[in-house]
């Protein structure tokens, strides 16, 4: 029961994080020639800096929740995956955990970049973090469909 609650919280935090980082990334990539009345222009017309701290907090929360349910995965999901010869599923999860770890280490630089005026650093770090968030969300979803935690 506790695992299900933690997994659901992990999912909800992941959804919030996905929305926030996507919003910020689209805002950074939006071409300036788009007409102001277009949906994409209105979607991206927000204060991107306001997302930074929320994204960092959500990322940490997501990794912490993932870290709490990870032993359960290791014992009750990974071993059956190995028995079912689903090495690719184990590999996908390994990439997810390592990308998540790298993302945690990236957060201080990401916060610094959004506090500075370095546009290249902002763009590069935000897109790197967005890639990690999207990858981890999709892989988590696929693996949970294959064999969920209970």
């Amino acid at each position: 029961m506790l695992t299900t609650l933690l997994l659901t919280a992990h999912l909800l935090v992941g959804v919030a994080l996905l929305g926030a980082i996507t919003h910020q990334s689209v805002g950074l990539l939006r071409p300036s020639v788009i007409r102001a009345d277009r949906f994409i222009a209105r979607y991206a017309k927000v204060d991107h800096t306001a997302f930074t701290l929320s994204i960092a907090v959500l990322f940490v929360l997501s990794v912490l929740l993932g870290g709490l349910i990870y032993p359960n995965y290791r014992l009750h999901v990974r071993i059956p995956f190995e028995q079912m010869s689903l090495a690719w599923a184990v590999g996908l999860f390994e990439l997810k955990e390592h990308f998540g770890g790298i993302g945690i280490g990236l957060l201080p630089a990401y916060i610094c970049a959004w506090r500075s005026r370095d546009a290249a650093a902002r763009l590069g770090l935000t897109l790197a973090l967005a890639f990690i968030v999207w990858w981890n969300f999709l892989v988590g979803h696929i693996l949970n469909n294959l064999r969920g935690l209970t």
Partner: protein, 102 residues
């Protein structure tokens, strides 16, 4: 700027710790035990599966923290615009090391 140095060193340290198998500690979920990374691995029958991820994050965090103190401010500033290459490189290293799964 300390954050930039921390993140750059963290990414490099993470890839290094994973490639050379240097987690700071290991966790055995079946027994709920932590053991230092330097200690010999318990056999699967004795301890169940060992988890290295927490220890690798700790190793990378330690390397990042030490580098944040030691790396000069000027170098951190110069690195800032190219810092995205560090996580990218670390992710490529991870994918390469895990290629046996695919």
């Amino acid at each position: 700027m300390r954050g930039t140095a921390f993140s750059a060193a963290f990414c490099g340290g993470y890839a290094w710790a994973l490639a050379t198998k240097h987690p700071l500690f290991l966790y055995y979920p079946l027994r709920g035990d932590f053991r230092w990374g330097m200690q010999p691995l318990l056999g699967f029958d004795a301890g169940g599966p060992a988890m290295t991820w927490y220890g690798i994050v700790a190793t990378a965090g330690l390397i990042g923290a030490l580098s944040a103190i030691c790396i000069p401010r000027g170098l951190s500033k110069a690195l800032a615009s190219y810092l995205w290459l560090f996580p990218l490189g670390a992710m490529v290293v991870c994918a390469f090391l895990l290629r046996r799964f695919f």
